[in-house]
Amino acid sequence: MKGKRLWFLTTAVTAGFFMALSHVSPVHGEVTLEVLNPRGEIAPLPIGVPAPRLATLAGKTVGIYWNNKAGGSYFWDVAEAELKAKVPSAKFVRYDGPFDPGDARAAAMAKEVDAFFYGVGD
């Protein structure tokens, strides 16, 4: 009886020892390098929704805005001719100006057209 108890105790201790060993990290000399985040926090911006699309281009006036970077006018000349061929009743008005025309000019142009194609040559 004593022998069985001793056997049982030894087995239990040995089993417990090996179970404990299995919770020790198997990688000795592991290094954790903690660094601060270098990025600047960006304040969340309000999300605007694009303006509703047109149902048709027929009979509409579309502005084409270009910032005069070299060669773009050739692109728009061809595009405008092709657009007219596809939608003969649509009118196209060409505008040019800086990258950003500003509030006043944007409002003035918007009064004259129903929609815009806008390019800045990049």
Partner: protein
């Protein structure tokens, strides 16, 4: 992008047209200006740029885009396009890198930061909390102090974040007040930081330090002043580069569209004036600061060649003999090269205005000029007067362009009379807006070269691209407190 968003917000549907290698930049800009899902149509860059020389050449590109243009205006908005929920970007305050050894962790850290676009391509020093705390000991300013936001994505620049990037650059704590002052200039509301950060023109920054702090922290103002080997010069520049990348959320080809990058892209042009060998008052004193003040002057400058306003050497050196007049003539000649752009200058365009000149005179040249009676101011007046063009030599287009700039109020009110008077027989038409648009610094060794760069006097997106700030809050130096 801002213009198209402006129109779309009025309620008129817009389709923004862009070449495909700018689409990431366009989407980023749309996000920054408030309609992240603005409709865009791309055209292939490799076809558009080479074919835009004539209608016939570009026709296939334009024709191929037309169906997409029509679709962009007519196809109803999708649910995603109508959504107003911003994507949540979590920013963990710290990042843990785990590896089997310190060497392996260092390598993993560098790769991680580069993969995330948080590095510059050069090896970085890990910004551990201990290192950042040591860096912050260089300033008495609060780590939480917000000094501004950084274009293009307008990330917040706090003293702590600048310190984190300064650690990464390998800067010493005593350099931090200089780095902070430079960031104060760059984030000033008047400074057009967006253009230098993002433009295809590949502009860069010149950072000049004045005052006693320069010597205290070991800056180089002598031979090799634009080069390597001086920790202060190089790591101040690298700290600024990393701060701009990380606080502005900037990356080449995504929203930094500098087509060929920039020379000295990791460290910019960082030097101090050679005040010991300067026959005139130091630059910052000419602005009204005291000699004992320490200041940083930040300027946007061109990167490449005379025609793109890049660095030009006017002469000097040890090989050929030179005279002060030969260098003056070279400076005037360089300013006169801007006449090529005279009919193109127009506010709001890619070439908005005549240039400001940033001239770095080597000490010998400055001393010779001083002996001849030149002061800083007299030199500015000389360059302004000598670079003027006789009215009779202007073409009708050039005359028309000056008249247009006058009519559109692109010439400052106090200079209108000067320009109007010049547009008469016998008149001399200035290429510089005013004499003060030559900014003169004295730096370099003996022997040395005098060199210069230039940049638009009125930048595209802001009021100025040259600004001086006092260095303050220093703890580890006597100067800059």
């Amino acid at each position: 992008m801002a213009g198209s968003v402006r129109i779309d917000k009025i309620g008129k549907p817009v389709v923004f047209v862009v070449t495909d290698n700018f689409i990431h930049d366009a989407k980023s800009a749309a996000e920054d200006t408030g309609i992240p899902r603005l409709r865009m149509v791309t055209v292939p860059a490799d076809e558009y740029y080479k074919r835009r020389v004539s209608r016939e050449e570009v026709a296939p590109v334009a024709v191929a885009a037309v169906d997409a243009l029509i679709d962009g205006l007519l196809r109803p908005l999708t649910e995603e396009e109508r959504g107003t929920t911003a994507k949540q970007v979590e920013m963990a305050p710290t990042i843990k890198i785990i590896a089997e050894s310190y060497d392996a962790a260092l390598e993993k850290f560098n790769q991680l930061f580069l993969d995330n676009h948080w590095g510059s391509g050069l090896p970085l020093v890990p910004p551990t909390p201990e290192r950042v705390k040591r860096m912050l000991a260089g300033t008495m300013r609060s780590p939480q102090e917000v000094i501004g936001t950084v274009a293009p994505k307008n990330g917040k620049a706090t003293i702590e974040k600048i310190a984190v990037n300064a650690v990464m650059a390998g800067a010493r704590p005593e350099y931090l007040p200089v780095i902070i002052a430079a960031m104060e200039a760059l984030t000033d509301r008047s400074y057009d930081l967006l253009h230098v950060m993002a433009s295809t023109g590949s502009f860069t920054l010149q950072i000049v330090v004045n005052g006693p702090i320069a010597e205290e922290i070991g800056m180089n103002s002598g031979i090799g002043l634009l080069g390597y080997g001086f920790r202060a010069n190089n790591t101040i520049g690298h700290a600024l580069r990393l701060s701009l990348i990380n606080l502005g959320h900037l990356w080449p080809g995504e929203n930094d569209m500098a087509l060929i990058g920039r020379p000295s892209s990791h460290t910019f042009y960082v030097f101090s004036e050679n005040e010991r060998n300067d026959p005139w008052e130091p630059y910052h004193v000419s602005l009204g600061y005291k000699k004992g003040d320490s200041c940083v002057t930040v300027s946007t400058v061109g990167s490449y060649s005379a025609s793109l306003s890049g660095l030009v050497a006017f002469g000097g050196g040890a090989v050929f003999p030179w005279t002060p007049q030969s260098l003056l003539d070279n400076m005037v000649r360089t300013i006169k090269m801007s006449r090529d752009m005279m009919t193109v200058w127009k506010f709001g365009t890619a070439v908005p205005s005549p240039g400001k000149q940033f001239l770095v005179l080597h000490p010998e040249f400055a001393m010779e000029l001083n002996r001849k009676g030149f002061t800083r101011k007299k030199l500015q007046e000389y360059l302004y007067e000598q670079s003027r063009i006789p009215y009779e030599q202007l073409s009708p287009k050039e005359i028309a362009s000056v008249r247009r700039r006058l009519a559109d109020r692109e010439i400052p009110d106090d200079q209108v009379a000067v320009f109007e008077e010049s547009l008469k027989p016998g008149g001399m038409v200035p290429l510089l807006i005013r004499p003060e648009h030559s900014y003169i610094f004295v730096a370099g060794g003996i022997p040395g070269y005098s060199f210069g760069t230039s940049y638009f006097s009125t930048p595209p997106y802001g009021a100025t691209a040259v600004l001086t700030k006092a260095i303050r809050g220093a703890v580890l130096t006597k100067a800059g407190r």
